[in-house]
Amino acid sequence: MQKGRNWTFRMTGFRKLLILLVVIAVCAALYRFVFGLGSVTNLSDEWPWGLWIGFDLLCGIALAGGGFSTALIVHVLHKDKYLPIARAALLTSLIGYIISMVSLFLDIGRWFNFWRPFFYWGFHSVLFEVFWCISLYTTVQVLEFGEIFFEKIKCPGLEKVLHAMLPFLLILGIVLPSLHQSSLGSLYIVAVDRLYPLWWSQIIPFFFVWSAFFLGPAMVTVEGTLAARAYGREPETPVFSSLTKVTLVMLIIYLIVKIADLVYRGVLSMAFNGSFESNMFLIEMIVFIILPIIMYATPSIRNKQGGVLTASILVVAGVVFNRMNVVFTGMADAMGGSYFPSIWEWLCTLGMWSFLVLAYCFVVENFPILPKEEHVHSGGHSHGAGFHA
């Protein structure tokens, strides 16, 4: 390892484009802070929450689920064969949370009051739990990342303190996201009689946390393959294939609980009533739950790089599809009016996700995040010896 080397960030045409998108988003955000939400968004009294909350926050946090599920598998269950993906998962999760917090900050009307919920204990509000957990968890992730940071930037004093805290942070780093992933679902309990019954349920928090968890391995697969392609590395396909066992079992449980919940509430027939909502629900279940279950269960598919990637993309898209259904499809009938994000909302979103890609690239190029390549030998340690011991 080349410790203490200088910072690097190689410019390419694609990266320049991403930087441009970030700059545009920053300008739009500044405009929004000066002139208010009405001037840049298509939000209305009927649609108080739109793209930023629905996609950037709800999906962003869910997609960052790779952080806590990988932490659970690697650091609590000590499944060492998954170590190669642990740091990449933590990094994506951390950047995902930062983006979610930024989009939340962008979305709240009285942003200068953002710190108030820390001091006014509205504990009867689901949002209170979400706010505390997300803030704390982001802090925890920054501290967890500190360990990696100090491998490059030497500071023995801080490193020691951090190391002593690590076991505690690790547990906290799983408990907190479990709580707020479920609470993001609980947010919609208030929408009883408004959110379509195929999605509204007293146990919607379970569906949210469960899907965020099984999404984790799939997200790690997708981003791992993308990163491997971008850097001309070999994707860790055996690790990804092995991870599908977790996702497969969780997907099956999800499907069973979903059907049981619909039957218990007596609304199963609504899935087949031919309405727009029912069709969206069926697509969600068949294309994004049942199909990945079949693909993951078939060894000839899950053991191939293309197969495991395709199935994982379906799982990731499925969770996004589910969140979109909760925020938009399921609420449309009751909210009335219409909403389609404005160009500025799209640009802000695009800018934030561009930032995610840039930040990911910068960090993996400057910090030890991805596993050492097999052909690189340093200190007598090879990739194989390190990971398959």
Partner: protein
């Protein structure tokens, strides 16, 4: 001591005095309306319009019935907006009014997250979309009049036909049932008695409530009679147990599997990508 208003839809003539008095008492800006195919103006409540009269033409055989329904915040007994707010910006006062503290009590905690707007089953809170530092606004039951001068709300004072009656919620509810039982033309039910745990504003009508814009059914089932805060609390109350329980399980699992795990020097496993 909780106050309420009884709205008798049969007595409303749709004069909109209540709308005018609401705007003038609360100093709300007027907005130029737009033409539409009914007589609603502006059609719905918003941050600048805290009450609005909706018009309905109901066909009853060869007869046409005109009915007018004043809408405003229902002032729930257990308000969803209050429970949704994580800064306590809404409060249900002992007088029955649900008020927004940043503008009413000058306690500016609101972050403008608009979860209250998602939470309200009646879609009432309006947001000042055009302001840089917007507030959430809605009917405040003329809390200032009620509290300081013992006056009834401006809309009730201005109502020329007695369609609105201000008083103690319990007594109003009794009176509502009295009117219903004495006159067979009323629908047998008081809207607001039980819906979402009950509201301070109560409605009686001679035409079915679902014909005049009230939600009586949601997705084929009667609307919820439990208060929305209690539904949320059913789930939220488990949080501390989950926090400590899940934390304990994880700690035990970690300690258990650690005995079999090998020690890794993580700094030897990873390296920065060389992007050349």
């Amino acid at each position: 001591m909780s106050k309420g208003v009884l709205v008798d839809v049969t007595r409303c003539i749709g004069c909109r005095s209540c709308q005018v008095s609401c705007k003038s008492w609360n100093d709300l800006p007027a907005k130029l309306g737009t033409f539409s195919n009914n007589w609603d103006s502006p059609g719905k409540t918003s941050a600048d319009t805290w009450t609005n009269v909706n018009y309905y033409v109901i066909e009853d055989g060869d007869n046409l019935k005109w009915r007018f329904v004043k809408r405003q915040c229902m002032h729930c007994n257990e308000p969803a907006c209050e429970s949704a707010c994580f800064t306590h910006s809404f409060v249900k006062t002992k007088e029955g009014a649900v008020i927004y503290k940043p503008t009413e009590l000058n306690k500016d905690y609101c972050v403008g997250c608009r979860y209250c707007m998602i939470a309200c089953p009646f879609g009432i809170p309006g947001f000042q979309w055009d302001k840089a530092f917007p507030y959430v606004q809605k009917c405040r039951f003329c809390y200032d009049r009620m509290k300081e001068e013992g006056l009834e709300p401006a809309c009730v004072t201005s109502c020329p036909t007695g369609a609105l009656k201000f008083g103690d919620r319990k007594e109003l509810l009794a009176e509502a049932w009295d009117r219903i039982n004495k006159n067979p033309r009323y629908v047998k039910g008081v809207y607001g008695e039980k819906e979402y745990g009950g509201t301070s504003w109560l409605y009686i009508s001679d035409v079915p409530f679902d014909k005049i814009g009230f939600r009586t059914e949601a997705f084929g089932k009667p609307v919820t009679q439990r208060s929305i805060p209690s539904l949320t609390w059913d789930v939220l109350k488990w949080t501390p147990y989950l926090f400590f329980g899940w934390g304990a399980i994880l700690t035990i699992m970690r300690a258990y599997t650690k005995r079999h795990a090998e020690v890794h020097d993580e700094s030897e496993l990873y390296e920065p990508v060389d992007n050349k």
